[in-house]
């Protein structure tokens, strides 16, 4: 039963990774940018949600939504202000700019919020769980995270495949020049894609902050896990990213079951194994690619 339990807990943990990874996947799918500031943004969102919930008497859900909206705005401005310009500077420029941003954000957080670890209190929800059978129970909050991840990925997928803006976004991704000829403002489309991605990162960061302790430097791990989920799942596929997150989560909890220190290492090993054996990922390219 301990192994079944490890797998189930891994799937739940994977929900969190999928939530963290879908923004990274979307930005790459639409713009071919790998946002190295992804993890730093997630942690910043966790701090913002924490700050809002401490400074105001608003319910946590409202703080989370507010922080998501703020970050969506930040994402739009980031794309229009910096990244669109960086995209014109060749392949290296967006990487270098987002890496610079990550270092700036992490060190600013360190100065403002100190390096002490924090967490967002969610009261009884953190510990409440449903017992399925003896030795196997499911945490309510981690189940909620998984549900939110699936719902968010489903919504983004629907948005991309069914709405006019989503179609325009896919067209821009396929060929910005041709899309421009059809009257689509590609810079605006890129801005919207980053807004959605950074908004989702903010939600993911807040959920992360509610489930674990975080520090300004925690974003490094977030970026690595999100990246592993994207690669395991297959580039440019949002459902693949969900699958990748789940596989990574299971690998880590099963690894930790073998030996507590091996959890993260097992995740890396599975990632490298996928890279060696099936480099296109488990679910390579679908509509959004």
């Amino acid at each position: 039963m301990t192994w079944v339990n490890a797998v189930v807990q891994g799937l739940l943990l994977g929900g969190q990774y999928a939530l963290l990874a879908c923004g990274l996947s979307l930005v790459f799918g639409v713009m071919r940018i790998v946002n190295l500031a992804h993890g730093a943004l997630a942690v910043t969102a966790a701090y913002l949600t924490l700050w809002l919930s401490q400074r105001t008497s608003l319910p946590l859900v409202v703080c989370l939504v507010a922080s998501v909206l703020v970050f969506a705005g930040v994402g739009y401005l980031l794309q229009r202000g910096l990244l669109n310009r960086a995209l014109r500077g060749g392949e290296l420029a967006p990487l270098l700019v987002t890496f610079g941003l990550a270092v700036i954000v992490v060190n600013l957080l360190q100065e403002i919020a100190t390096a002490n670890s924090r967490s967002i209190s969610i009261g009884g929800l953190a510990t409440s769980s449903t017992r399925i059978v003896d030795g196997l129970s499911i945490g309510v909050f981690s189940l909620l995270t998984l549900v939110v991840a699936v719902a968010l990925i489903g919504l983004i997928q629907l948005f991309l495949s069914r709405t006019a803006v989503g179609r325009a976004m896919r067209a821009t991704s396929d060929d910005p020049g041709a899309a421009r000829l059809m009257g689509i403002d590609d810079r605006h489309m890129y801005g919207l894609a980053t807004a959605i991605a950074v908004g989702s990162v903010a939600a993911a960061g807040a959920f992360l902050g509610m489930s674990t302790q975080f520090t300004p430097g925690y974003g490094d791990l977030v970026l690595i896990f999100a990246f592993e989920a994207v690669i395991i799942g297959g580039l440019g596929s949002l459902w693949g990213t969900l699958l990748g997150g789940l596989v990574l989560g299971v690998a880590q909890t099963v690894g930790a079951q073998v030996e507590p220190a091996y959890g993260i290492l097992f995740g890396h090993v599975v990632f490298l194994a996928v890279l060696a054996l099936k480099p296109s990922g488990l679910m390579p390219r679908t509509v959004t690619a």
Partner: protein, 353 residues
């Protein structure tokens, strides 16, 4: 036929008077660093200068990787760590002389890079970047699991026990200076060779280079291995200078941040850029160390601004491509006094490399 006699005769020049002057300045600087500085700077100052030498090695090799090979890695700390652990293990546990251990540690780092390149080379662009980082995290986690490497707490270098402090610091200083000079000169010689020409082509346009018969993958792998061996050498130097290694500091992603900022601010894709950048970074680090992490915020902001608004870096801004201390380009000039104008035109169309 007098017309044939006066036909313009094109010659290819590499460098000129300015690069001879530049090279003279560099040689003078190295001589001052080798002969004057050790006797006039405090021991603490010398130890810090060894830090500068390792930064120059790191930046030069990262520039080889990203500036010429087109491979942005943020995981070179994997090989810094391998070099750092390698030199202490080889010197203490195996008992090799320090210089041999240092060079062998670099070879080990290069071998590790060769083996792992078959994994990370399946990724391109930004995903290659993060892939190398995962590799570095993997190296770190594996290192902490090995008892012979001191687990989570690291190793201390014993090889110097019994040597007095002055001799030790002077030895490491001269060793560091020699290694930095060797790495820079070797990079320069490499870039002057046909291999360098192929790498420059890869940097400018991968598809065009490949269609002209440049073995893109082969040379990228070569550059990855060479740059990682350089990172291993720098890591070994860092470990010997600090007398110890620990997993969290030697495998720190901050090294990648430093390398990237140094090269980007100094000038990506030039030999001079990383050296200038390393000196700028070193001075900033010394001056701003009392402001805590603010100097990293400032450096990050500076790097972003440079990438967006001055992609040629400080060196490019200062010289506008007119001065090359390490000339790599081929300038076609018309060797005829009457065709001075043509010579200028030829100069303008010269390849930048």
């Amino acid at each position: 036929m007098s017309a044939a006699k006066e036909a313009p005769h094109a010659v290819v020049r590499r460098g000129g008077r300015s690069s001879v002057a530049g090279a003279a300045v560099m040689v003078a600087a190295v001589v001052v660093l080798a002969v004057w500085v050790p006797y006039n700077v405090s021991l603490g100052g010398l130890t810090q200068l060894v830090g500068l030498f390792s930064l120059i090695i790191l930046a030069t090799t990262w520039n080889l990787l990203a500036g010429y090979g087109g491979l942005v890695s943020i995981g070179q700390q994997a090989f810094i760590g391998a070099g750092g652990y390698g030199v202490i293990y080889l010197a203490d546990a195996v008992g090799l002389p320090l210089v041999i251990a240092l060079l062998l540690a670099a070879v080990v780092a290069g071998l590790l890079a060769f083996v792992t390149s078959f994994l990370v080379f399946r990724l391109v662009g930004g995903y290659f970047a993060i892939g190398t980082w995962v590799l570095a995290e993997g190296f770190k986690l594996l290192t902490t699991q090995v008892d012979a490497l001191g687990g989570g707490s690291g190793l201390s270098l014993q090889a110097f026990s019994g040597t007095d402090r002055v001799t030790r610091i002077a030895t490491v200083y001269w060793l560091g200076l020699a290694l930095a000079v060797i790495v820079v000169v070797a990079t320069y010689v490499l870039m002057r060779s046909p291999v360098g020409l192929g790498l420059t082509a890869i940097r400018d346009d991968v598809k065009a280079a490949s269609s002209l018969g440049v073995h893109v993958r082969r040379w990228q792998r070569f550059v990855y291995v060479a740059a990682s061996a350089g990172a291993g050498l720098a890591g070994a130097l860092i470990a010997v200078n600090a007398l110890r290694v620990s997993p969290d500091s030697i495998y720190s992603v901050n090294y990648s941040a430093f390398m990237i900022f140094i090269v980007v601010i100094g000038g990506l894709g030039t030999i001079e850029g990383p050296i200038i950048g390393a000196v700028v970074f070193f001075v900033l680090q010394q001056q701003l160390s009392s402001y805590g992490t603010w100097y990293l915020v400032a450096l990050g902001a500076l790097a972003v601004v440079v990438v967006l608004f001055a992609p040629t870096g400080v060196w490019g801004l200062l010289t506008r491509g007119r001065l090359e201390m390490f000339p790599l380009g081929h300038r076609v000039e018309v060797d005829r006094p009457a065709a001075a104008g043509g010579g200028r035109a030829g100069r303008r169309s010269a390849t930048r490399a």
